[in-house]
Symmetry: C2
Subunit: 257 residues, 2 copies
DNA sequence: CGTGCGGTTGAAGAGTCTCAACTCGAGTGG
DNA sequence: CCACTCGAGTTGAGACTCTTCAACCGCACG
């Protein structure tokens, strides 16, 4: 719907798309291939290729035939569903190392759209499926990742079904803040700072709200000092505890191992 | 919250809980063990045991330590999350053959409650995890099942985030009707008939509504002839197409293989 | 300098929730 | 056998949250 083609984004082409060796791949230890041994990586090398997408580009259309699966190497994409009348719900946020596509199914179930410039490591589907049967390390890792996604989806169902608009926004900010912290491994006590990777509309689609409500609630959280905004996208969280209270989340974020 | 202990339910003890051999198990070909060979089943026999629960009983408390995983053999259970202030959201409906628990994690993330009398086939967790590493058939099947659940969860996110109360109810009825049809393999053209396995409150928790709204919308669908109600739980769907329209679902239920 | 897009804000309205009263049927006890 | 209780479910009235429709801002880009 909204195609971002600005040259600003095109400039920062984040990864040399031609020849990355798995060994030196930035997501080597977090993607489907995380558990693979050197010889297994060799097999993957042979069935993989890279594709780059610009911000705003559709990567996959729901219903299309899929001849590949793959991993996000860099950039961010969204997974979403749309009803005939245009109502859309985001059902996943794809970050580097996240897996795209479903082995054993020929059609795509969701739309996948790049929200930033993005690089994908694609595997030809047929050979990948064959490899899944012969290489337990891949299936094992994929299972782990799928279970994590399922947990995330269920967490999100609570947000969608039972939280107020204000709590929804706070929850989204908390999630983005947390992931950003774990990515940059900041000194964890300082105030968290990050840029929102989503437009107000995309946030609304994630949260089951309208973009106006998103805007209003962000303004309210800013007015109440829960967050500090510079420009439209740059966010500072002075007090994470406070934000979590606003999100209705119980304190310490319930770590389960 | 509402413990059903009626003797009526206790009478129909649906499965002989003591000695089921995997070979003759009713969920043999749909559960985690679906792909297992005879020798693999032998290994499972050794680490499994059965537990029965009465309608209303808590099977697992969120946060508790889990020393088993398992499959629902008969009966229905719900998976749900609760916030401190009592708001609860159902995040899954467990039917016969569905898997419970997460290998590789020690704590339970959700409450699991039996809504009918229920029998579970439990596997001791440690040996099961060991078996997952040595028996690809189990991990493969579990991956398949987890991917299905993830799709269901995402489908549900659309319902929670974007559908109206009326559409939500219609969606739930459609899902229950569909599963019931696939279970009983009815002549598929006749009007669908089934009993609601959930109270109004449970439906509300599933749909992110209040029980009053659920009741009102069911009454409205009845008044408009979309469904026929006998008593509070017995439902007839005269026209499935019509119901799907009401659910906002695109026609033919988009079968992907 | 106009145009387009992301974002903000206001006013009015619709949809859902809250609170409350009531019905119905099943089980209980005198 | 009947009055009683208790839980599930229904229905109504009013309150409140969020949406809808609309105007407007500001920045980037051509």
């Amino acid at each position: 719907m909204t195609q971002i083609k600005s040259k600003k984004f095109m400039l920062l082409d984040p990864v040399q798309t031609d020849h990355i060796h798995c060994e030196s791949c930035p997501i080597r230890h977090r993607a489907v291939c995380a558990r693979c041994e050197a010889d297994e990586l060799e097999l993957l090398e042979e069935i993989k290729y890279y594709r780059s997408f610009e911000a705003g580009q559709h990567i996959i259309w729901s219903g299309d035939k899929m001849d590949f699966v793959g991993s996000v190497v860099s950039g961010i994409a969204t997974l979403s569903q749309t009803m005939e009348d245009g109502r859309t719900q985001m059902v996943g946020l794809l970050l580097p190392s996240d897996f795209v596509g479903r082995p054993g199914r020929s059609g795509a179930a969701y739309d996948v759209v790049a929200t930033t410039d993005l690089v994908m490591c694609c595997f030809r589907k047929k050979p990948f499926e064959k490899m899944m049967e012969t290489t337990p390390h891949i299936a094992q890792r994929l299972l782990q990742m799928t279970l994590d996604e399922l947990d995330a989806a269920r967490e999100w169902m609570l947000v969608l079904g039972r939280k107020t608009a204000r709590e929804k926004i706070a929850s989204l900010l908390a999630i983005i803040a947390r992931r950003d912290a774990s990515l940059h491994l900041n000194a964890k006590n300082g105030p968290l700072v990050f840029d929102l990777p989503l437009t107000r509309e995309a946030m609304a689609d994630y949260l089951g709200l309208t973009l106006e409500t998103v805007s209003r609630q962000i303004s309210a959280l800013k007015r109440d000092g829960v967050i500090v905004l510079e420009g439209k996208r740059h966010v500072t969280i002075p007090d994470m505890e406070r934000l979590l209270e606003e999100a209705g989340d119980d304190s310490d974020g319930g770590m389960l191992d």
